[in-house]
Amino acid sequence: MSDSSWTADAVREAQFGDYVELLKPRVMRLVIFTAAVGLVVAPNSVHPVVALAAILCIAVGAGASGALNMWWDADIDRVMTRTAKRPIPSGRVQPGEALAIGLTLSGFSVVMLGLFTNLLAAGLLAFTIFFYAVVYSMWLKRVTPQNIVIGGAAGAFPPMIGWAVATGGVGIESLLMFALIFIWTPPHFWALALFRNDDYKRANIPMMPVTHGEVSTRRQILAYAALLAPVAIAPAFTQIGGPIYFGLALVLNAMFVFGAFGLSRRSAAVATASNYRAEKWFFGFSILYLFLHFVGLLIEAALRGFGLNWAAWPVVF
């Protein structure tokens, strides 16, 4: 690379898409979906315009925390293949710009959500952004292999915020939706860490496979999958659940535990030989697993909307 081309690269101004990328649109999609489900399944109805505006605020807040995360983690993103093409390490966006965008959008999204809906929803959104950007990114991520166990809370808040938008409160239903994502996060990310181990080693991030080795990580994935099953099935017996969710959750959790059991019995040698096929399958399935649980809740809500109530269905919680 000649000097002149380096200069041209360094002064390259960002285009709009680079800023959009800063907001982690793929993570945003899951946030929008889970927040929308939390809002829709709540017993109170919200005017569609207010609901849309609220979900937009939650999405922008999540994006803002993504921008703050990219600003803070630019140094490690640069050395990991998965993240090296992000806007800051690839030189398309300046770190200062990312920080400014992250802070501005954080402030706007929280204030607007508070004005559009209620203070609890806004407070939860503010706490989520703080938790992801400060507690997870700045503190836990580089310090402890429990980083994603605790940091998972940030990703688990959106359905609770959606619920708070509709009800103005917290309920056992929203707590269970929180718990579902919270306990799902460690096995999901550890499956990824198993086949991306070299990346995390190079970046010096203490992910479970780096610090405790593969065997221990595989055992922990199984433990969390087993712990997750009752939590994921429990919403079936609340007022937002029903037999369809119950059936779906039963099948999904059986597959999840079975998959985790399979992983726990694989040795590193077998995994390497198969190019981590089972681990990659489990990671992919974990995304579908979470998505379908929320789809199940949506179906139950739609049936209730059509006036179909399961009169004999036990609501325990």
């Binding site: 101004e13 960002a14 709009f16 898409g17 800023y19 315009v49 207010v50 505006a53």
Partner: protein, 64 residues
Amino acid sequence: MAAFRDQHELHARRASRNIGLGIVLGVFVAVVFAVTIVKMSQPQSEDPRALNYNPSAAAAEATE
């Protein structure tokens, strides 16, 4: 020649940024406007002392 092309690319990137920001601001204004209309047209306070007291809403509530 190269200098011209560089300039042109820079302008294209700036244009994309300006148009994008314009759309974002437009959407923001539209959202605030729409939510305002919705909130203002919803049944409001039944308390006669409240600034947003709505006698027809209170009456409708009473007849139900």
